[in-house]
Subunit: 136 residues, 2 copies
Amino acid sequence: MERCINFGMRKANRVLNQIYDGHLAKCGLKGGQYSILRALYLRKQSSNRDLQDILVMDQTTLTRGLKPLIRDGYIQSRPGEDGRVKLLCLSPEGKDLYKEANKLWQVAQKQVAARLGKETIEQLFSVANSVVDLRN
Amino acid sequence: MERCINFGMRKANRVLNQIYDGHLAKCGLKGGQYSILRALYLRKQSSNRDLQDILVMDQTTLTRGLKPLIRDGYIQSRPGEDGRVKLLCLSPEGKDLYKEANKLWQVAQKQVAARLGKETIEQLFSVANSVVDLRN
DNA sequence: TGACTATAGATGCATATGCATGTAAATTTA
DNA sequence: TAAATTTACATGCATATGCATCTATAGTCA
């Protein structure tokens, strides 16, 4: 009975999401939103397009993921010189929220890391990177 | 710059979903629906509760995942002796659909397996199982 | 038996995901 | 420069996900 690769990873992904989301809920964020805030925190400014590459995310998924963060004032959006482009950056509130979320993220990350162990984590990233490379 | 375990797996999960969904789309299914059909095909009959454990899925997620499959007549639902329980099984159409979907799944699985290689796949399942065990 | 508790599912709400498609702006080409 | 093409982003639609909560049924215990 051959195991489905997609199903195997999907289950694991759900478990991880629940752990990280559980911690991040204290500041009202989900894991995906945290990733977006982090990417913007580290890059100061990005277009939607840039973030798609960084986050390995579909354009439509990203656009919608940004929506509540813009709505709640954590991300500022303005048109670029190229009229098609939307430039995004964290507002002061967004930076504060990221810093707060980062503390919660660290708790989640440490908890998971402690239980999985170094070797498993290395394998996880190695496997995940290999899978992402399937896109090329 | 520490990498986020959740983010790493999430990206990989999205890539896999797209590959499998791309193939399964030919019969109108998504990967999650295929997993449900498969579980029912192999077990003949299950309650919602049973499937939650098999699929490592939240009750509400599963209930909603079943909805379109029941709606479209692929899964039959009837109450069990225990009035709270909902018993589920594949209809004849559901069995046919599963068999058709299984062929498409095999194409996807082979394609991914060929590109990842045996060792990476073993690691993938090993890591995924370790992550799922975090629930305990 | 009646009250309390536990279990199985369903629903409201909000985000997550991506295909097909639409709109607008920039670039290329004839 | 006008038309065709490409690029960036938005929207309609449908499924995916799970927390909080609700309903109904089953089981437990005083």
